[in-house]
């Protein structure tokens, strides 16, 4: 039986069970979620990747007496269908739902699914990076998301492998190796010559970094038409990635693939592009035995925003007011600094960005790199990006596969570009 019907089946099963058991089940459920006076006894928070909320919610529970259940999903592409399912069936959404920038716009196309937070909490519009705050609003003006983190860019590199290839290993000298992308490719060629291995994990991570640096329109214009064929940012990213592929500076390990995860431990590549949230993933994949071998350097070509999220409250939540309060609490300056220290998501709150706890933070795993300083300095230079409704789908199902099929020799350059154009249109249809 098809997946669609299986999903429907489940919904119907749940419905049947509820009807069969009748009011009893309904009562039991209400008692679980509600205390006298309409105050919730528990709120559910849905996140993906690592948001670093474990410690913060403990304090919240102590302050308010409301329990918080954190539901974590490892990858965005597993997380998104869960949110979709909850919205489509009107059941099962968490009270506070994290929305990543790649999927935010898609969910913004139906703003009625989300509560307007503005009347529920104090006015914080001046306290965050202005563009980040604006992106949390839907077309009809309602505030559907509170800013959590931004991506900001850096390069994570392996000092031991750099030394083996007779490249400098100190942060500043490494930064001097690649003032721009051409210099970066030259470094990659030197690394290839010395070790016969790829410097970076894949050309697609590089392409993502280049694309977000360009700013302006990526796959969509401001009216949300797909402009993948005309966009300057996309073309630059494509050409840079093709040049990298021709120079053979990558190890062809697609992000999230087994080759990629194993590559961190095995050292099949010596560098990858690290938005702040990626630090935790690099550390987890490399394992404790590689602690101190990684370091963080600035990225060629300057700042850029890759990733970052908002917290939203679905209208189906029974306690929108308390949920909004919780989202407000999780995104305040203090919480953002704590989350950064725990798992690396970069603050968007202006006060948090100035907090000495943040600016002075050094990451022990990455050879004591001053990540607070490195990321903090770049964050204010970030240009706002406009990502259309199906940005993530175009990136993952059209742009990156086409690039990889060129790199793997499956299709020539123009054929790969055509494949990307065709898929961008079908993926971007809305």
């Amino acid at each position: 039986m098809s997946v669609t019907t299986r999903r429907n089946r489940f919904a119907v099963a749940a419905l049947a069970a509820v009807t069969a058991i009748g009011g009893l089940a309904a009562c039991g459920k209400d008692d679980d979620a509600k205390e006298s006076g309409g105050k919730p006894s528990k709120l559910v928070v849905d996140t993906f990747g690592e948001f670093g909320y474990d410690e913060i919610v403990k304090q919240y529970e102590k302050d308010t007496g409301i329990k918080v259940e954190l539901r974590k999903t490892a990858q965005l592409n597993e997380y998104r269908p869960k949110v979709v399912r909850a919205l489509a069936t009107g059941k099962g959404a968490a009270d506070v739902t994290a929305l990543e920038e790649g999927i935010l716009n898609e969910f913004k196309t139906n703003p009625a699914n989300w509560a307007d937070l503005a009347p529920l909490i104090a006015d914080h519009s001046k306290e965050y990076l202005p563009w980040k705050w604006e992106l949390g609003k839907a077309a009809d003006g309602r505030l559907i998301g509170l800013p959590t983190d931004v991506g900001s860019l850096a390069v994570c590199y392996r000092k031991d492998l750099f030394a083996a290839a007779k490249l400098p290993t100190e942060r500043d000298q490494v930064a001097a190796l690649w003032p721009d992308w051409n210099a970066f490719i030259e470094t990659g060629k030197k690394y290839r010559a010395a070790t016969n291995k790829g410097l970076i994990d894949s050309v697609t991570t590089a392409a993502s970094a280049v694309m977000v640096q360009q700013g302006g329109d990526l796959f969509y214009d401001k009216e949300d038409n797909v402009v993948a064929d005309k966009s300057a940012a996309v073309k630059t990213a494509w050409d840079t990635a093709v040049a990298m592929s021709d120079a053979k500076i990558s190890s062809k390990s697609a992000t999230w693939s087994p080759e990629w995860s194993a590559g961190f431990k095995q050292g099949t590549f010596a560098a990858t592009f690290c938005p702040s949230w990626m630090l935790g993933i690099v550390a987890d994949n490399s394992g404790p035995e590689n602690k101190g071998k990684w370091d963080v350097a600035p990225v060629p070509g300057g700042a850029g925003n890759w990733g970052g999220s908002w917290l939203a409250v679905p209208t189906q939540s029974k306690f929108p007011k308390e949920a909004a309060k919780l989202a407000e609490y999780l995104t305040n300056a203090k919480s953002q600094v704590e989350a950064f220290k725990l798992k690396g998501p970069l603050p968007t709150n202006l006060e948090a960005l100035k907090n000495p706890d943040f600016t002075g933070y050094t990451n022990e795993y990455f050879s004591g790199a001053p990540t607070g300083k490195i990321f903090g300095e770049s964050v204010e230079k970030i240009q706002p990006l406009h990502l259309g409704p199906k940005h993530q789908a175009i990136k993952e199902n059209a742009f990156e596969p086409a690039l990889r099929s060129y790199e793997n020799g499956q299709s020539p350059k123009d054929k790969a570009w055509e494949q990307f154009q065709k898929d961008a249109k079908t993926q971007g249809a809305f």
């Binding site: 098809s2 089946r9 080759e259 499956q410």
Partner: protein, 322 residues
């Protein structure tokens, strides 16, 4: 109570009105019991099928006639989604992939299962129960775990298969980059998981064949091979039809193995080398919110294909084994 009692006319010396009414009520109940209870006994299946099988099918059919946004509007468009299928390159690509993997997995799998079942059916085999249990083990393992383990075996850089190939001087294969290699990898997962299952069903079928047939054949001088060909196979036909139909349904709905093999990317390889129909349906119906109606049309196209292939298999198997 006998049935004749129900038709017996009231006796002329009419008793007071209540007792006969009571009696006739009892009779009616009894009649109802006889007529209805069989239906009640089989009702649970039909109720459950109606809720979990039939209703979703109708609902999917209804969706397929719409331009259906999963989290937004629905517009009725008639059969447009179905006509669109014919010109959809990716739909046909997924169809070819599905059938390719289906043939690579079903044919060797059934031959192997038939062989193993024959071996397990031999009376001289020691510890038969142990072997029969062992052969079923792969089927108990979760399909995601199987897919993850096989994904690691078929890894490009550090995979066991490539390492073994390198021992005999073959270059590392990028398993998920070509059709033939990705289909082989996925088919091997399916084979590993389902061969034992089919073996046991075929074995059960073989055990049901009367032993005296073999004894008579042996007395007439038929050797093992001839016995297999002339007795086992023909008598096994109903079981074989069942196994083939099950494999067809399972094989054409292949989803988890290729999805995990693609690291969760629904397009199944950079050029959709191993995107199956079920994956394409999921891509349209769930991943791509706005094309849920089109995804439903793919689901129905799959249903028709499975029905047709099952029918063809049924006819083929019935004829060839006769």
């Amino acid at each position: 109570m006998s049935l004749s009692a129900t038709t017996a006319p009231p006796s002329p010396s009419a008793p007071p009105p209540t007792p006969p009414r009571r009696r006739s009520r009892a009779i009616t109940l009894n009649r109802l019991d006889l007529k209805l209870s069989p239906y009640l006994y089989i009702a649970p299946f039909f109720v459950i099928f109606g809720i979990f099988g039939f209703y979703p099918m109708l609902r999917t059919a209804w969706m397929s006639l719409h331009d259906w946004n999963l989290i937004g509007d629905h517009t009725f468009i008639g059969f447009d989604n179905y006509t669109r299928l014919f010109g959809d390159e990716y739909f046909w690509n997924a169809t070819i992939n599905t059938f390719g993997i289906f043939f690579l997995s079903t044919i060797p799998q059934l031959l192997l299962a038939l062989f193993l079942a024959t071996m397990l059916n031999r009376t001289f085999l020691r510890a038969r129960t142990l072997f029969r249990m062992a052969i079923f083990m792969p089927n108990v393992v979760s399909v995601a775990a199987v897919a993850i383990v096989f994904g690691m075996l078929f890894q490009r850089d550090f995979g066991l298969i490539n390492w073994m190939l390198s021992l005999v001087g073959v270059d590392a294969v990028d398993w998920d980059a070509q059709k033939w290699s990705s289909w082989t990898a996925i088919a091997s997962m399916v084979n590993w998981r389902w061969t034992g299952y089919n073996t046991l069903i075929l074995l059960a079928g073989m055990q049901a064949i009367p032993k005296d047939l073999y004894e008579a054949a042996a007395i007439d001088g038929a050797n093992q091979w001839k016995q297999f060909w002339k007795i086992t196979l023909p008598m096994l036909t109903p079981t074989f039809v069942f196994v083939v139909t099950l494999s067809t349904i399972g094989g054409l709905q292949l989803f988890t193995e290729p999805l995990v093999f693609a690291n969760g990317n629904i397009i199944g390889g950079d050029q959709r080398e191993f995107q199956t129909l079920a994956m394409y349906m999921y891509e349209l119906g769930i991943e791509n919110l706005s094309t849920a109606g089109y995804g439903a049309a793919v689901a129905w196209a799959m249903f028709v294909m499975i029905a047709l292939v099952s029918l063809v298999n049924f006819l083929l198997v019935r004829r060839s084994v006769k």
